[in-house]
């Protein structure tokens, strides 16, 4: 159907064509962290809510799973994905109103956003575990 007319159309260049830069990295990271959270993050969220609604026994099972080494990796991963997606998302809000497109500014915030995401993740877990 659609293929007949579109098969021979030229494709836009994909990832391997471009020279890598921080703006490209932060864009890909935004998609990866967003889609990662859509599956793992929302899955854990529903498990958590379901376990709470199910009562102490089911919450016990959830707590056990989330305090295994794999559970911690998943939770740290989700929190890192959230803070990273949040920082690059805030960057998007600035770009949406037309700001931050100058080459130097764009490059700076492309580098700073994911770093802020990591710092926020470290701060969150430090407060949680050291309180």
């Amino acid at each position: 159907m659609a293929k007949d007319g579109t098969r021979n159309r030229p494709l836009s260049p994909h990832l391997q064509i471009w020279r890598w830069g921080p703006h490209m990295f932060v864009s890909i990271l935004h998609r990866v962290t967003g889609d990662g959270m859509a599956f793992a993050g929302l899955g854990v969220l529903l498990w958590w809510l379901g376990a709470l609604a199910g009562g102490p026994a089911s919450y016990e099972t959830f707590s056990w799973a989330m305090t295994t080494p794999i559970g911690y990796i998943v939770l740290v991963g989700i929190s890192w994905a959230f803070f990273t997606h949040m920082m690059s998302g805030l960057r998007h809000f600035v770009l949406d109103v037309g700001g931050g497109f100058e080459l130097k500014t764009n490059k700076t915030w492309s580098i700073v956003s994911p770093i802020l995401g990591v710092l926020a993740t470290v701060a969150f877990w430090a407060i949680l575990l050291l309180r």
């Binding site: 659609a2 529903l46 709470l52 609604a53 919450y59 998302g89 969150f124």
Partner: protein, 127 residues
């Protein structure tokens, strides 16, 4: 599509259609996510511990319960919109694309319904 005026030749061919609405919803739900998930993150840090008793007592309160329901709605909606873009970028066959987006809509609605039900059940004292 006509072949008369230049506007007549291109009208209806643009990618926009409902794109602006989609784009705006992604931003509105992003703001919702920012507020509700930060509320959850700060609440987790402020709870004395994360045992069943503490968390269940917290979530049964009116403001946390409402915030958690809003969180479920806004995050699933945002994810639905984001994953739709992913599908549109990588699934080119019309039938497969339709199936993916249909499944995505069902999963998102199911997630919202389940999450909201769990919070309401907890808040209205099932235990």
């Amino acid at each position: 599509m006509g072949n008369g005026t230049s506007i007549g030749r291109v009208r209806g061919l643009g990618s926009a259609k409902t794109g602006v609405h989609h784009w705006l919803l992604q931003r509105f739900t992003a703001i919702g996510n920012l507020l509700s998930v930060l509320f959850l993150a700060v609440s987790i840090l402020l709870l004395p511990d994360l045992t069943y008793a503490s968390v269940a007592e917290w979530m049964a309160r009116p403001v946390p319960a409402v915030m958690m329901i809003l969180l479920v709605v806004t995050t699933f909606w945002h994810a639905r919109i984001g994953l739709q873009v992913l599908v549109e970028d990588y699934v080119h066959d019309h039938a497969n694309k339709f199936a993916c987006i249909a499944a995505l809509n069902l999963a998102a609605c199911g997630g919202i319904a389940f999450g909201a039900f769990c919070v309401i059940r907890l808040a209205l004292g099932a235990h």
